[in-house]
Amino acid sequence: MDLANFFIQLLNSVQYGLLLFLLAAGLTLIFGIMGVVNLAHGSFYMLGAYMAYALTGAWDNLALAILAGTLISISLGWLLEKLLFRHFYHRSHLDQVLLTFGLIYIFEELRSMLWGDDVHSVGVPAVLDWSIQLTDTLSYPAYRLFMLAICTALALGLWLLISKTKLGMRIRAGAFNSDMAQTLGINIVRLHSLVFAMGVALAALAGMLIAPLSSVYPHMGSQVLIMCFVVVVIGGIGSVRGALTAALLVGLVDTFGKVLLPQFASMLVYVLMALVLLYKPEGLFKQ
């Protein structure tokens, strides 16, 4: 592996890491900050991807589709929080596991009834449909560079929101001690619906943004689910900075694992997770 190749692989690992952060961002809110074990996170990601496919099919404009899709997923998140999740904040993690496992079944079937079971692809918007020549044989798709920018912006935005803004402070207070936050005049009920809706929207947004890169197919959510939990847990539950660091770390291990240690590639990420949890039982950046 010569130097140029190494740097390209490094770029690949950073790009995959940021992609993983985008995927796990919604989970850092719902699972990380609100403490709800949300196994249905993968289903929201899948719904986002299918919405991108359906809406670009109708309007042939990804940006518009993403806008509409985000609004739809925010209302879906808000509705789910109101109907179901509101009653589960003080329930044990096991109840949340059971609830969200049931939701996986429901969303998988709704997707099959609404959009069928075929494999689809979503077009890259024309303005981004070009590549930069890296080496004589390899070029780098602009859409992935665009994704690099989007994910970095999202990471920065989420970190700023959570740790620097008043709303962020209220969210953290609510998560840390919701009863105390309530007595200080924070409307916890509205805050929880807002944060939950944001979490669902982020998961769906990830689905819509990544759709042009990944194709759209049944059960795509379940393949992503475990990796999102790995990222959030390694980073330290509730820490946005932790999730970003962990995502980059997993991106590194996965990318170079495939190239250098192919026969152990599939186990490396889990070895990393076990090592982190045994060395720092609360993750890298425990609050």
Binding site: H93, L98, G102, F107, V233, A274
Partner: protein
């Protein structure tokens, strides 16, 4: 489940009667049932043993393992490895070896995972189970992604598992023994201490109990019992594959235990039978006019699970237990 249940060892009358009747039904069942249903009920009993083994961890010790299927699958693979191509291995030797293999694996993994707490325990058990899953999935020598056959089912002491009735009653005996052992455990000093660890680990240590070795023992014991269930599954189906130790199987076990109602082992038993019966029921729903109900079994199953967790926080067992006033 919201407020931790204190009394695990006492079972309400209605549940005891239900279990008694259930046992009689299971004893009589093979005489009436056709081969397929005998095998179906055998499978339910195997899953019940698996669920009870997880309940020892989840309901009694308060350790939620999302990787319990690793020990279930490994025992099945041990039987596959020990089975010669054209003859049945003797279960007299292969069963203990399989259970021992699962116990050893549980001891090794337990030594690492038992020191973590809460959510991190859930996640680290999942990580180790995925490692075991990929170890078998990626290695041709261990059967690879398509798995291995148990060519001829084990037999010993005149009990040949090729005969469905024999395996049915052998599994029933294992079910009853496992249930009795775990129920008895609840009354033992070991069981009481595990219960204490679940309710308040810090004070349990303050009283003089080395909670680490208690939790490790419970984890190993649960791994061994899961191995028993995994061995029987492999003996019954004759085919083992990596999915037996996959994430889905571990989540399935957690579902059965929560659905049934945690802690007193009977909940896990009822949860296992209930979960499987509902699964079969929804899948065999007929075609009503143009709308094939059976095809959308995932919708009905998902809705049922959500309904149970919203309506019955204590699981199915909660519904059987009369609303007890606090100071019983």
């Amino acid at each position: 489940m919201s407020a931790p249940q204190g009394h695990l060892e006492t079972l309400p009358r209605s549940v005891q009667v239900l279990l008694g009747l259930g046992l009689i039904a299971l004893l009589a069942f093979p005489l009436a049932g056709q081969d397929f249903y005998t095998q179906m009920v055998t499978r339910m009993m195997i899953l019940a043993i698996f669920a009870m083994s997880l309940d020892l961890l989840q309901g009694i010790t308060g350790l939620v393992s999302l990787g319990h299927a690793a020990f279930f699958g490994v025992a099945g693979y041990v039987l596959a490895f020990l089975s010669p191509a054209d003859a049945g291995a003797s279960w007299l030797t292969s069963l203990p070896l399989a259970v021992l293999a699962s116990a050893l694996l549980a001891l090794v993994i337990g030594f690492f995972v038992v020191r973590t707490q809460g959510i991190y325990f859930i996640m680290v058990t999942m990580a180790f189970a995925q490692m075991v899953y990929f170890l078998f999935f990626d290695n041709k020598a261990l059967g690879g992604s398509d798995g291995l056959y148990v060519n001829v089912r084990p037999a010993a002491l005149g009990l040949d598992f090729e005969n469905k009735q024999v395996l049915y009653f052998f599994t029933l005996a294992c079910l009853v023994l496992t249930y009795a052992f775990l129920r008895r455990l609840l009354w033992s000093p070991f069981g009481r201490t595990l219960n204490g660890i679940r309710l308040n680990e810090h004070r349990t240590q303050a009283l003089g109990y080395a909670s680490f070795s208690y939790k490790l023992t419970a984890f190993t014991l649960a791994g061994a019992l899961a191995g028993l269930a995994g061995y029987l599954w492999a003996a019954q189906s004759g085919y083992v594959n990596p999915e037996l130790m996959g994430f889905h199987m571990s989540a399935h076990a957690i579902m059965m235990v929560i659905l049934g109602g945690m802690g007193n082992v009977a909940g896990a038993l009822i949860g296992a039978f209930g979960f499987e019966l509902f699964l079969h029921f929804f899948k065999d729903l007929p075609k009503v006019g143009e709308f094939d109900l059976g095809k959308h079994w995932q919708l009905w199953m998902g809705s049922l699970i959500v309904l149970v967790v919203v309506v019955a926080p204590q699981g199915l067992m909660g519904m059987l237990r009369p609303r007890r006033s606090q100071d019983d």
